[in-house]
């Protein structure tokens, strides 16, 4: 078992689907943080078989939980203080996401209008459907 030393203050993203940690690293812009970040790939998990984890040593307020909820709302967020888990935060699908994904509909105004925010609205929570605010095209996750 690989051991990564504990963190004093920060957060651990647990139960990330195996192989998804690097894209989350980029989505969350963790590369722009000037703090210690550990990515653990393919850790053994009773629940998932294999999972990824990300440990970050910085306050939670630097994290955009909305984006994380959109990427995978099954991820667990453990908030750490004094090397102890002080809070487990559940993620929800955000009602709206801004400038995270782009509309792929070539007929959408967002494909040509300058400096227009790319906004997607959650239209069906059960089916996890997001639609472009402008053309209402469904966002297809790969």
């Amino acid at each position: 078992m690989l051991n990564i030393s504990g963190i004093q203050e920060g957060f651990v993203l647990d139960h990330i689907k195996a192989g998804a940690s690097l894209s989350i690293y980029h989505y969350l812009k963790l590369d722009q943080l000037d703090c210690c970040v550990a990515i653990i790939k393919n850790a053994r998990s009773k629940k998932m078989g294999k999972k990824d984890m990300i440990k970050v040593e910085c306050p939670i307020d630097k994290l955009d939980l909305d984006i994380l909820g959109f990427i995978d709302h099954n991820i667990t967020v453990n908030i750490i203080k004094g090397e102890q888990i002080v809070e487990k935060r559940r993620l929800r699908l955000p009602k709206e996401i801004k400038n995270v994904i782009r509309c792929k509909n070539p007929r959408c105004i967002s494909s040509i209008e300058q400096e227009l925010d790319q906004i997607f609205i959650l239209t069906d929570e059960d089916k996890e459907v997001y639609r472009c605010k402008y053309c209402e095209e469904k966002y297809e996750r790969k």
Binding site: N105, R107, I109, S110, C135
Partner: protein
Amino acid sequence: MRHLMSPLDLSVEELDKLLTLANDIEKNPKKYAHACDGKKLATCFYEPSTRTRLSFESAMLNLGGSVIGFSSADSSSAAKGESVSDTIRVISCFADICAMRHPKEGAPLVASQKSSIPVINAGDGGHQHPTQTLTDLLTIRSLKGHLDNLKIGLCGDLKFGRTVHSLINALIRYPNVEFVLISPKELRVPEYIREDVLVANNIPFTEVERLEDAITDLDILYMTRVQKERFFNEEDYVRMKDFYILDKAKMALAREDMLVLHPLPRVNEISVEVDDDPRAVYFKQVQYGVYVRMALILTLLEIEV
């Protein structure tokens, strides 16, 4: 300030009020002849659409207002690369209300976010065309007397026809409405209409391939054009095209009180021999389009007569 982007922007009650106003305009046109004196409508049409633009212009002129605008992107500053957001800010200084048609879906919504005057979506690509739906609803309600308890046949290209999708979305809000979807299998309604709208709301519907099989017990027949280029091969087109041409023989199978609607332009899907049948109301529908646009302009400008 309100805009109109989709027919569903209006609640059933608001829609009812709007259609009642349109009927009052129809009966008492003189009463409204100066309701918009001194007001200007800007018709910002980034792609040509003669009927819709002239209908809006006619509506504003009937109300005593005046009209400015452009009828293609070439004759607007869009040709110089101006954004929709900037154009509407400029138009807001010139006019009191704007009707916008744009080939890009969502363009009128972008305009409405930056506008200081009401914006009406006059058609945005294959997305929405709310004033056509309002026209259809006014036609049905005026000539049938109600929007509930109807069996509606939708015939032709149900896959790409945005007027059909909008009409379904608008009519499912009324009780006891049933649809018969008449189309070749290549042009059936998309899955998001069948599953997310009809099935999800428990709306009864059937899908058939031949108009003759469905026409006998319809209250409304809404015809649309089946374009040759939508078919995968010539053979299928030749085999099926006559299924979707409404003629006297097919009309003979229909009820005495069935109404035939069409968003126009008609090409050959309704034979001209049907035009004199009192059940053919597609030209009356155009007139209702003017009344409903007049009612919409008054409503959005908050003018009470």
